[in-house]
Symmetry: none
Amino acid sequence: MNKPFEQVRFVMVHPSHPGNVGAAARAIKTMGFHDLCLVAPRFPDVLEQPDAQSLASGATDVLASVRIVPSLEDALAPVTLAFALTARARVLGPPVCDIREAAQISCQHIQDTSNARVAVVLGTERSGLTNDDVALCQRVCHIPANPEYSSLNVAQALQLAAWELRYTLASAASVPLLPSTEGQAHEGDQAAPGEKVQAFMTHWEQAITEVGFLDPAHPKKLMPRMRHMFGRNALSHDEVDMLRGLCTAMIKAARKR
Amino acid sequence: MNKPFEQVRFVMVHPSHPGNVGAAARAIKTMGFHDLCLVAPRFPDVLEQPDAQSLASGATDVLASVRIVPSLEDALAPVTLAFALTARARVLGPPVCDIREAAQISCQHIQDTSNARVAVVLGTERSGLTNDDVALCQRVCHIPANPEYSSLNVAQALQLAAWELRYTLASAASVPLLPSTEGQAHEGDQAAPGEKVQAFMTHWEQAITEVGFLDPAHPKKLMPRMRHMFGRNALSHDEVDMLRGLCTAMIKAARKR
């Protein structure tokens, strides 16, 4: 487990559907987190319910380590920076940001504060967080969804928030986000240097002339356009070699007449 | 409907679970998109199946306007920049980025190209996209999830990709765009759509075969490598026209023997 990922807690306040708790466990695990806390769930045995188990899928370890507490104060006891994830705007309340900004603020906080603990707090499926819940958080954050249809369920909202945190934390820790292809890296895939590309362009000009496409008496803008097209993206060593093989074949075919 | 949001299509290749199609419709609608295209779904009546309807929830309008086509080529016919969203790394294939970079590349493409159409292509639930599917896309993109547990289903993957596109497109739209180049824009400089590029690749294969470069009995990886090379940067209409002129010249030269 990566250190900053241990410093993030997800809190669901009064969840009523066991399936959503299972889906939440899965969502946070896919993003590398594992700390899920439930505040007074509707069903005390929510973790054992079949829907929770089946929707958690391979994240039953997260489900098994879920903390159940009686109040949001308890859930936030060790937390140094809590975000209330809400859909509704509040007239009076903590400063508002979106989930990407929340991830950046969290990341900065974790870097600056040795004992940092960040929480993302979600409300009930039906009514969201109360003003009292929000008041226990330092910040409010939103997911700027389609205003005409912002129907994200709690697991989806949590998935997006966890993704934003993962992306920002991993980038900051310069943890490689994509699997390394180091082992597969092949020298031929590297960009060819300018002199190799120029030698190919000379060969190419000869080949397209010999097949009768480029008329040296009326070259128009063919070669500048070819240069522009091939040059837009760096050609690799292997690609230049392949294209030179094609040049040779074109010239040979043209001379066989 | 916001203009750039109309320029993005989501494509599901061979979806087998109607519930996933419904959830996908909902996911893209929450992010402000509406163009969903299915390639040869397992159930031809997938849109009418109860699971599709119930998981689409309030997005039945998106479901009702879903296009069903027989092949990925058809789905990408009007598309100028397609991303294959895959979990597996490919040894040979289009350049790889993550979904945030994909959103940024898409946004830039939409700003630069008046007829831009971007697609995000997802594979089947079980096996993902084939190499042939990926070869029809200009880019591969990944969701850098937890490497120990990256179990995102297609609707969740699509939700995250749609979110990234929404966030980037919406941010870009609120920033004053670069001075319009409408007056100077030359239609031939615009990116060629997928069907035009595919027709050129067929012609190119014929041309490099006739000059004796491609041996149909031993094609090696020549065509995938050619696709990869030409696909890396969107070819313009004028470039495709130029290259087709070259194909014709090559075939003529080879046949003059």
